[in-house]
Subunit: 277 residues, 2 copies
DNA sequence: TTGACAAATGACTCAATAGTCACTATTATA
DNA sequence: TATAATAGTGACTATTGAGTCATTTGTCAA
């Protein structure tokens, strides 16, 4: 639906500028040039709108980063590519990133908090796999601490260009953070954040993605898809989900077929997780 | 006035739990067990309340940290003491620290933003002086970048115990961050944040503390003060402010006299800045 | 042209909130 | 005890904002 997208775009601008609470539905509809009623045809409530925004962009950002990490073959490049992709994604979706930072510790809504935790954990897992791949046993004791350093870098340095309009030299920023991360990873001996601590603070949110959820999303995508290759790949992947008979190489290839399509990023991310690629 | 303090304490709790916008004056007065009118006898508005809270706690926190940095003679201890004092202060004032993190990028109020920027800059200057003292020319190119790393550590690791109730081992945390800071300070070669960048993003807030402002505060303190030594020291410092005749050593001594008194922390901080100790 | 259906409107309701003010209670003083 | 000064009250106003719904407008096929 076109209206939904329009509302999301315009609301994003206002939320980024004034914050979620401080933006009224009235303002959103005026900014869209539609009536108040029209808003409620697309979204059941203002809350549903912000949740939709979070899902839409977090899926995009998470799968962007994950894709880069999984597809950078050269370990020497990996960290650089990770930071580059991360800040590039934040920069591309800067209005959303602003909202994310502004509202991340806000407590309006149970569902909101759950979503935030969920995506937070996804990103944490991506960083963890990256650390394990790059440094292996070297960071056995320190890897959970390193995750927090990296997340700290991500938020601190984002703020510079998001809220202070600092010019963003993505290459320099990434190189600078690669150096820092390598230094910390190679020489840290006193971690503060241990696996126990992570376990301890982990909220009880068992939000594993189930096969049923993936099936639901894959069916939606199949219905929307026009391109024949992608569509067929999705259909085959769906069958594989229901009845796993295809060899891993073929599944990998099918995933490859869809993973560059803009509308398939999320589903391809979920499938990669599910099939453990 | 007693009421003012009661309101500040109770409001702090509610703001920390639900956020500033989401807490109504009604709720605050109910939580205090007073009427709505009584609130407006102590504060002109809800905004004035949050500004008072910020001033009260940021003065405390800033002067705590500054005092430690200035009074740790042993350079080997300095960084440890800095982190220890910082997180200790955040932990002691954890309700306030929560508000600070939750609302720091919020944009309700021009005055609010100015205050935040102001205290931000103060802390930034403390960190800068610490870095220059410890590493000198070694960090000439990287010191502004290091400030951002340290601030990143401060906010990331605070969140762990502020919002996730992680147990706080202050000693371990400080040691861990000392190691990290040393690593980064000694080996970073590619800074992202340069002095130019800092200059570029610095908002035009020329909020220098004037002699008049200091005089006003010092007079308040003199009026409130009971202890004879502290009171006399304040009076002499006030005279020195109006007519600088005393030798530096004496001024230093007078400052020393008052700097441990809980009600003089802020004024002693301001005076140290003014007399350039 | 008609009539059936969907899309869109915006005046309205209801709840909540910041801030006011005429009044009351309390305390200090003479 | 009487009086004045101060502290405290809570019903009230004015305003805003989320969400609703009776009505209008637009778009088809027949």
């Amino acid at each position: 639906m076109m209206k939904k997208q329009l509302i999301m775009e315009k609301a994003l601008e206002l939320f980024a500028k004034h914050g979620f609470e401080a933006t009224s539905v009235q303002q959103i509809t005026e900014h869209c040039g539609i009536s108040k009623g029209a808003f409620y045809l697309s979204f059941k409530s203002k809350d549903e709108l912000i949740l939709a925004l979070i899902d839409h962009f977090m899926m995009q950002i998470t799968s962007d980063i994950d894709y880069i990490v999984r597809n950078t073959k050269d370990d020497k490049e990996l960290l650089y590519q990770f930071y580059y992709a991360t800040f590039d994604s934040f920069h591309k979706h800067s209005d959303f990133a602003k909202i994310l930072i502004k509202e991340q510790t806000q407590t309006f809504n149970q569902e909101f908090m759950l979503k935030m935790h969920y995506y937070n954990r996804l990103i944490q897992n991506i960083i963890l796999s990256l650390l394990e791949r790059l440094y292996g046993d070297e960071v056995k004791q320190t890897k959970f601490d390193l995750i927090y350093c990296i997340k700290g870098f991500m938020s601190t340095y984002s703020e510079l260009f998001l809220f202070y309009n600092a010019p963003l030299d993505l290459d320099l920023l990434s190189k600078s953070l690669v150096e820092k991360t390598n230094l910390l990873a190679r020489h840290t001996t006193i971690p503060f954040v241990s696996q126990e601590l992570i376990q301890m603070i982990k909220q009880p949110l068992n939000e594993e993605v189930t096969k049923e959820q993936i099936l639901k999303i894959i069916e939606q995508r199949i219905a929307e898809m026009d391109e024949p290759i992608e569509k067929e790949s999705l259909i085959l992947l769906k069958q594989q989900l229901l009845d796993p008979t295809l060899p891993r190489a073929i599944v990998k290839g099918l995933l490859e077929n869809i993973s560059n399509h803009p509308h398939c990023k999320w589903i391809s991310y979920l499938l990669r997780c599910y099939f453990e690629f």
